[in-house]
Amino acid sequence: MISAELGRALVVGAVTLPAGLWLVMATAALVGAPLRERWLSPVARTIFSLTALALVSGAALLLPADAAAQAIDLGEWFAAGDHAFHLRLLADPPALIFASLCAVLCGVVAAFANRYLHREPGYHRFFALLALFATGILLIALAGSIEVVFAGWELVGLASALLIAFFHERPAPVESGLWALTVYRLTDLGLLGAAVLVHHFQGSGDFDVFLGTSWPIGQTPLSAGQAGAVALLLLFAALGKGALLPFSGWLPRAMEGPTPSSAIFYGALSIHAGAYLLLRAGPLLDAAPLAAALVALVGLATALHATMVGRVQTDIKSALAYASLTQVGIILVEIGVGLRWLPLLHIVGHATLRSLQILRAPSLLHDFHTLETAVGGHLPRTGGHLERLLPEGTRRRLYAASLARWRLDEFLIAAFVAPLRRLSAGLDRAERRWCALLGGPAADDHPVPEDTSKGGGDAR
């Protein structure tokens, strides 16, 4: 009993530690004395080490405990009438395993970034955003209610967008960050919609109310239709964070960010957040076979897309991003066909390997040069077995489509962004004309903007 209480305290402490680091950094900046690099570095490493240690220790204490001991109720957040919102964490096996992975990888990346970003102008910004991200991803991992997931989900999205735009003096990273955020915000509607529906159906967003208490065999009290509707909304949310089809286009753009954040966000953790969410919602998929089939189908399509596009990438980070996406697609297939432990282990294994690969990516070119110098020529190309099975014409067409990344972003912009911009520009002109009619011609230096919807490859 005491060990379970200690375990719960350690888990809560682990979530608050990165948040505390962010708070300390923010306060120091506010009072005009931002932490110096030589202080921030050991403080950040200590915080992330303690976070990992607390979670691994908490996991060791709580994994053998029963389901009741693994639920952490932090009290009522707010209430109006009979609408009450509770702050709940859930330290069950998938949560503890994923959270421990998150904490360990955040710690590794913090240690790596300490040297990688040494004396970079954005050194503080990186660590502040890493602390924000760590708080968010731990909230997602350990959430005991859908509201807590949403809070973590938004923190992760914000930190991701800001880190993609980290090298902000060039326009490309900033445009990529805005595009990623646009995709996140719109697909986040799925998570919010799921939260609303769950409250509507069950009166509470707590996992134990609508997912049952014993993962992975919990049973949802929702009907098949209700479970399917909630599951589809969660899948929509997962499409954005997981860069699944048709929202895969932001992922290679996200590699504009610094390598450590690419490793942890798009190789290891953020990209698996959608898969983890669907894994948690397993009981809903069990109750709604059609939704589960759709999850598998999306996963399959994403894996096929990513493996094709990944094969024609010419830079190492993009190739690794698509390799990640291929695996995430396969993980979704595993979830869709009803497996639970295998996708969880797949997430852990893949996240660990891929983050190592991405962290090693900057020095890979150096390794290749060394190897090619040693063998006296180019290294032989590998991995072309499947390609040789295809006819030449098909191979060429697939090559062209893959090189254009299946034009997914162009499709989204043409289908959704450009019409919105055209409509908005038209309405803006109409409003200005109405004002001119009422108040006479505008005599200022702010002319009516041109219709900027044409030729937009960016999100602005």
Binding site: A29, G81, A161, V174, E431, L438, A443
Partner: protein, 488 residues
């Protein structure tokens, strides 16, 4: 006494403790007014800002004392009979209830931050005195119990922003005329609506309802009667524009005059228009090239959500709307003020190019982002709490409402981040303007940001208070509040 005044003071009149022992409300309204006059007479001095802040500190103390007195006595409302006794003999002119008691400190905090961060450059002399005058009128509106006096103050409160627009010269002529037409119409409609309500004729009562609703929609900037708002934000001095709009006098008039008596269909219509405004404004904000205009659209979008909660579907959604009143007012005011100080350093801000400066002014960038995400209901801020309650309480009756509120928040977030990236990222010109924040500016923004974060993480007291207000207003409408609570 008109019906609304009777409603407001129903319990105060019957309760022995319904009157304040000291003229706290008179003093709270008069302090900024007298201070404004004194500062205007003294002219621009080195101590002007300090004196104004000291006066506002005193004013905040008075407003908080009135709020504390209301809670201490457990009264539904408290009247300040001093001013009424001096002027018209018997009826109190000023009073507070649970709705308005929290609005006085809310308006004072916004004004205090505006005074703290008000730039010295780019503004006409006497700015701080004008801000104090505007605050005094807003406080008088929030503390007014007589609808006729409310109509008069409504009209008077239009004069300072109109003069500010006129003071901007020919470049703001169009905006000034549009503002005058829209706001003149709103003041007239409100006054005539109030006058006709007492006539007793059903046809006139219907006309009165229409006029009152139109007046509120114009003042609140609800589509299709919002067109003055983007133009106003584009051309008016930002500080005055924020003080005119952020306290949301239109929402107050809706709660005080329209909500108690008008049929549910009317409220539903206003809420539907507000819901459309929320999505429309956010979508328009995502594509604007001018930072002020984008802010104007974002403002009408997020502040419209307050009115959505007034549909009175449930106690939770109404409480959500009332708490969004506080959160959107504080956050949007803070966001606008960050634009104000940035504009004072850089001149007119466009969103179709990158201005740079993130490394030079990380603090201003971070505070802009914090106040911005609080404006669009980001988790951890008070706005998120309000939106959750609003959606969750109303979704049973109107599933579309939940989707529309979420869409407005999502689009608002995109608009905000687009503005953030345009204003702070990119390569800054070298040598560029001095972008470092002064300590008073840092303090002002940090106070607002901390308030929104603390209330977002620990919202229980505020939400409980707003829920009590919602319950009182629903009961005053004759709505079965208990049924509304347990509708699920």
């Amino acid at each position: 006494m008109p019906a609304e005044s009777a409603l407001l003071l129903a319990s105060a009149a019957s309760a022995a403790d319904g009157s304040l022992t000291h003229p706290l409300l008179t003093l709270a309204v008069a302090t900024p007014l007298l201070l404004a006059l004194a500062l205007a007479l003294a002219g621009e001095r080195r101590w002007t800002r300090g004196a104004a802040l000291a006066g506002l500190g005193l004013d905040l103390g008075l407003a908080l004392a009135a709020l504390a007195e209301l809670h201490r006595r457990g009264a539904a409302s408290l009247a300040d009979t001093w001013l009424g006794g001096q002027i018209i003999g018997d009826a109190p002119l000023l009073a507070i209830d649970r709705l308005s008691a929290a609005l006085l400190p809310f308006a004072i905090v916004i004004a205090a931050v505006a005074v703290m961060v008000a730039p010295r450059v780019g503004e006409r002399p006497g700015l701080i005195a004008r801000l104090l005058l505007a605050l005094s009128l807003t406080l008088a509106i929030f503390a007014t119990v007589d609808p006729r006096l409310l109509a008069l103050l409504w009209a008077l409160s239009l004069i300072p922003p109109l003069l500010e627009l006129r003071g901007r010269g020919p470049s703001a002529r169009q905006a000034s005329r549009v503002f005058a037409i829209y706001m003149g119409a709103s003041a007239l409609a409100f006054a005539v609506g109030v006058a006709l309500r007492g006539a007793g004729e059903p046809a006139l009562a219907t006309l009165a309802t229409g006029l009152l609703v139109a007046a509120v929609m114009i003042r609140k900037g609800i589509t299709p009667l919002h067109s003055w708002s983007p133009a106003f934000f584009e051309h008016a001095p930002l500080g005055s524009a924020i003080l005119f709009t952020a306290p949301q006098v239109g929402a107050y008039a809706l709660a005080r005059v329209v909500l108690p008596d008008e049929p549910a269909l009317v409220l539903r219509g206003v809420a539907a228009a507000a819901l459309f405004t929320a999505v429309y404004g956010a979508a328009m904000a995502t594509t604007q090239a001018d930072a002020r205009r984008a802010y104007g659209y974002l403002f009408i979008s997020q502040s419209a959500l307050v009115v959505v909660g007034f549909e009175c579907v449930s106690l939770a959604s109404f409480s959500g709307g009332l708490s969004l009143w506080i959160s959107s007012g504080l956050a949007l005011a803070g966001l606008g003020m960050t634009l104000w100080v940035l504009e004072a350093r850089r001149g007119r801000l466009r969103l179709d190019r990158f201005h740079g400066g993130l490394e030079k002014t990380p603090l201003l960038a971070a505070l802009f982002l914090l106040l911005g995400i609080a404006s669009v209901g980001f988790p951890g801020t008070l706005g998120f709490v309000g939106e959750e309650l609003l959606i969750d309480g109303a979704v049973l009756e109107f599933p579309l409402l939940g989707f529309a509120v979420a869409l407005a928040s999502a689009l608002g977030g995109i608009a905000l981040m687009r503005a953030y990236f345009a204003l702070f990222t990119g390569r800054a010109p070298r040598p560029g303007p001095n972008l470092f924040l002064r300590p008073r500016e840092t303090l002002g923004f940090a106070l607002l940001g901390a308030l929104l974060l603390v209330l977002g993480l620990w919202p229980r007291p505020l939400i409980a208070d707003r829920a009590e207000v919602a319950r009182g207003l629903l009961e005053a409408r004759g709505a079965p509040a208990v049924d509304l609570e347990t509708h699920r």
